[in-house]
């Protein structure tokens, strides 16, 4: 077991992958709690698709793909926040339209060129084993920026998620708070593109907090558990994909392995949470809180 967990990380490329994954664990673990509270899982998923044309365009003009992802990430966050507010009801419709339109524009652009396939596959599904030092630095900067910003805006973001009318009554503008969170999500997507790709990053944004929610009733513990789950599953995912590749000759994409482990963690914690609640219900009779 000790070998399984530590052996893979003798090599430079695995060490770099691990550092990247630990950073992403903290980043996504934190952000995912706000996504959960705000119930913006679908909006976040849309963001992962609207970033795609940005990536394609950056590729075509020979710029770093990270830059294209960043520009379109921010643009999407703005459009999303403004459109859902301005068009009023049925956010899902706006979001669905955005997802479809942005993504197809990306596909149309892509279909006019040739020879893009390989880089694009890496973008869609990640290539964490090829992470270099520059990318780690970028991830570290994004992590500090996003976690720092979320910490500074924490109480307002929680209020916005809890009481959408009350937050406005107190004098805040929900559009700006939503915009801030969407921008943070866009940055997470941009940072995670290298490790797990745009298709799977949504798992990083949803599963850690969902798993934490299964066993926590308060925010403080939720953040801790969410980050811990994300980091540990990242580590385990890398170890697993390494083991099956070296010892069993099976190709298991590292990014996807991380997501599979994350999902297993969610199921485990859900079961644990349910069991704990069942035990608690049995050991103490239901307390009717007197009025």
């Amino acid at each position: 077991m000790r070998g399984f967990l530590l052996d893979p990380f003798r090599f430079g490329y695995m060490q770099r992958a691990l550092i990247e994954v630990v950073l992403l664990g903290v980043l996504a673990g934190t952000c995912s709690v706000y996504v959960l509270l705000r119930r913006s899982a679908f909006a976040s998923d849309v963001l992962t698709h609207t970033i795609f044309p940005g990536v394609v365009l950056a590729f075509l003009v020979g710029q770093p793909l990270f830059l294209g992802a960043l520009v379109f990430g921010l643009l999407s966050a703005v459009v999303l926040s403004v459109a859902t507010r301005a068009l009023g009801a049925d956010d899902d419709v706006v979001l669905g339209v955005m997802l479809g339109s942005f993504f197809s524009v990306g596909v149309v652009i892509v279909s006019r060129t040739t020879g893009y396939a390989n880089d694009l596959t890496a973008l869609l599904f990640g290539r964490v084993l090829a992470v270099d030092r520059a990318e780690i630095v970028v991830t570290a900067v994004v992590t500090m920026t996003v976690v720092g910003t979320l910490a500074l805006l924490h109480k307002e973001l929680v209020l916005r998620a809890f009481d959408p009318v009350g937050v406005e009554a107190l004098g805040y503008r929900p559009v700006l708070l939503d915009l801030a969170l969407n921008v943070m999500v866009a940055l997470v997507v941009v940072a995670a593109v290298k490790a797990v790709g745009t298709v799977l990053v949504i798992a990083l944004l949803i599963t850690p907090a969902a798993a934490a929610r299964m066993v926590c009733q308060r925010l403080g513990p939720m953040f801790a558990v969410s980050c811990a789950v994300a980091v540990v599953c990242g580590w385990l995912g890398l170890a697993v994909s390494y083991d099956v590749s070296i010892n069993h000759g099976v190709r298991a994409a590292s990014g996807a392995s991380i997501v599979v482990v994350l999902t297993a963690a969610f199921v485990l914690l859900a079961a644990l949470g349910a069991a704990a609640r069942a035990l608690a219900a049995r050991s103490s009779p239901p307390v009717t809180t007197p009025a």
Partner: protein, 315 residues
């Protein structure tokens, strides 16, 4: 001051997170990276990217080398994801053989990531390359091995690299190389005779992988389903009807699909144009060799298979 403390709180990764990372890094730094490599048996460690170069490397190296092939048979080399096993092997290799000409687009990134220190040999060095008629990114055709005369050049390049990396066994490498080149000469003559006997030489393939074969033996290339050297482009509707028209007009006898690509488009175009589609076991080996035990497991077998299928199809 409180906001600062709040910020500091946010940046402080809780001990629970630092601890595992610290343990891992400590262990990692404690061990030397990439050491404890296997096979202390003194053999030259070679990593070859494609199945063709792996085959050449095994032939030239014989018992003196241990060859790890990155791409497996029937896997599209244009679209590939490196695994830990690949990176490990690259990190330990003494010689790394690549096809070159942009076939392995992912190569540079992977080499860098694996921190490979072995000598990299570009098997295509010195070969006169053909260009594409369609405008393409990286516009040279990388499928040079389909011309046995160019395969000879690739073998020579590999043999030089082995000899440079492992001087004591130079004689053996040169010997193996010469013997194989003789076999390639024989193959070349054989193919020339067979194709020479064909009256209808019109070739339609799945993607434009056989340019060097066409060039060497005087086949007539009518078109390909995927109009480029790599496998990711798609024909527009206009291109499809143009190709179908060309097939009908020029009297093409058969459309050939390939082992590493799905035959669907080839089949529908063949149906549309009313010509036979050669697929399944008879599919051509365009990008890779076949798996062990198949008709195209080695280069020589692969070439003979392709020629037999083409000649049968066009007779």
């Amino acid at each position: 001051m409180r906001p600062l403390r709040r910020l500091a709180h946010a940046f402080l990764v809780p001990p629970a997170l630092v601890l595992p990372a610290a343990i891992v890094l400590a262990t990692a730094l404690g061990c030397s990276s990439g050491s404890g490599a296997d096979a202390g048996d003194g053999r030259l460690r070679v990593v070859a990217t494609t199945t063709q170069t792996a085959d050449f490397a095994r032939v030239v190296g014989g018992e003196q080398v241990q060859v790890y092939g990155v791409l497996k048979a029937n896997v599209d080399p244009h679209d590939f994801e490196p695994s830990p096993a690949d990176l490990d092997a690259l990190g330990r290799a003494d010689v790394i053989v690549r096809n070159g000409v942009g076939l392995e687009e992912w190569f540079d990134e992977v080499i860098r990531s694996a921190e490979a220190e072995g000598a990299v040999v570009d098997a295509s060095a010195g070969v006169p390359l053909r260009r594409s008629g369609v405008s393409d990114r990286g516009a040279y055709d990388p499928h040079l091995w389909h011309n046995p005369r160019y395969a000879m050049r690739m073998v020579t390049n590999i043999e030089s690299a082995f000899s440079a990396a492992d001087p004591p066994r130079q004689a053996a490498y040169r010997d193996n190389g010469q013997r194989y080149i003789a076999a390639l000469e024989a193959l070349d003559a054989e193919v020339e005779a067979q194709i020479g006997s064909l009256r209808n030489r019109k070739l339609v393939t799945n993607h434009d992988a056989f340019g060097y074969l066409v060039e060497r033996y005087g086949l007539e290339f009518v078109g390909s389903i995927i109009p480029t050297f790599d496998t990711q482009a798609e024909l527009s509707a206009q291109d499809v009807s143009a190709l179908v028209a060309r097939i009908r007009d020029t009297g093409v006898k058969a459309v050939f699909s390939e082992s590493s690509l799905p035959p669907r488009t080839a089949e529908s175009i063949g149906q549309e144009a009313g010509v036979r589609v050669v697929a399944g076991d008879d599919a051509l080996y365009g990008d890779t060799l076949g798996p062990p035990g198949s008709d195209g497991a080695t280069y020589l077998e692969m070439m003979r298979h392709n020629v037999r299928v083409i000649v049968d199809g066009l007779r």
